[in-house]
Symmetry: C2
Subunit: 206 residues, 2 copies
């Protein structure tokens, strides 16, 4: 019973590539000591500056497929020819320890977490305009023209899936977007399921 | 479609007598120009200082019963021998005009609004302790000893109904409680149903 009350929130953050998920997550983590990031596993090659075990667990395809067979993922998806997945065990351990766990995942993966029936808060990060998204993707300087066009087309499809989420947060400004997410976390912590202990304590003193 | 997007939130605020609903509502209204209070109808006698049409529509029992027959109430309830009810038409008009409408109602009435299936956000105001509730009720100086004891016993029953609500807000401090409710309003305005227009606009520009 006590574990149930202090359990953290599982928060799924998703949105198109270039929506700013990564920057938002970094800022959120620096502000909230009660919140940790779920480190995904992937078969894609590390980008410059990415550290194994911090940004991703970079694992080979064979290992990934074995973990799928072991039902060790909360979700997994193939995206642009690579696998991405969220290992179950560490997420559950953090939630039980009372930490909020952020899942920063692609839209495909987010829908699989939703379909799994896991209790969570899902947030879709949206962008001010497609023009702004294109500007951001070009600004990265790590993408080929072909990848940029592919990402823009995927983004359009992904925006149409926003209806699957509990909340939509506009990322017109990173600080504002982070504040919006903190507002959602505060509100979710006032849900009856998370406040029932407070109410019961008033009654027990009678 | 446009009305759907700009429609206000129907917010049901309830909690035991003495939980501070009235003070919270007054502060909330003074801070938010986008929010109005639904004025209930009642058959009980006005308390000192209460103004007809502002605090309640004070109507006679016959009129109230005729309105019940006309299905003109969103909810109504009998409480301590008096009728209380929320007239439907003005609430709907304010929501369509884009205003949030606060329903400050007794727990019985709140459950009837929930059972009606109306789209709304329901908030239960709770108290730090039964001792504090007793202190507040005695501080009113308008209640007899018998009424106070009856209200305390009713409060216990009402606290057990908190599970029916979307949110529970602790009123340990009025300003803090008002801020919590504003946080809930902000979060509810980021629900997909209220953000879908923003997402669709991004897609339309493509």
């Amino acid at each position: 019973m006590q574990n149930e009350q202090t359990r953290g929130l599982l928060i799924t953050l998703s949105g198109p590539s270039g929506s700013g998920k990564g920057t938002i997550v970094k800022s959120l983590l620096s502000k909230r000591a009660d919140t940790v990031l779920s480190v995904s596993a992937t078969t894609r090659a590390p980008r410059e500056g990415e550290i194994d075990g911090v940004h991703y667990h970079f694992i080979d395809r064979e290992t990934f497929l074995r973990m799928i067979e072991d039902n060790a993922f909360l979700e997994y998806a193939e995206y642009n020819g690579n696998f991405y997945g969220t290992p179950k065990a560490p997420v559950e351990a953090e939630l039980l320890a009372g930490h909020n766990v952020l899942l920063e995942i692609e839209v495909q993966g987010a829908e699989k977490v939703m379909d799994s029936g896991a209790e969570m808060v899902s947030i879709f990060i949206t962008i001010p305009s497609m023009q702004e998204l294109e500007r951001r993707l070009r600004g990265r300087d790590t993408e080929t023209e072909e990848t940029i066009l592919s990402r823009l087309s995927i983004a359009e499809r992904e925006l149409k899936r926003a209806f699957r989420y509990d909340y939509v947060v506009l990322n017109d400004d990173v600080d504002a977007a982070v504040e919006r997410i903190e507002t959602i976390i505060q509100a979710e912590n006032m849900r009856y399921s998370r406040m029932s202990k407070t109410v019961m304590e008033v009654l027990e003193v009678c």
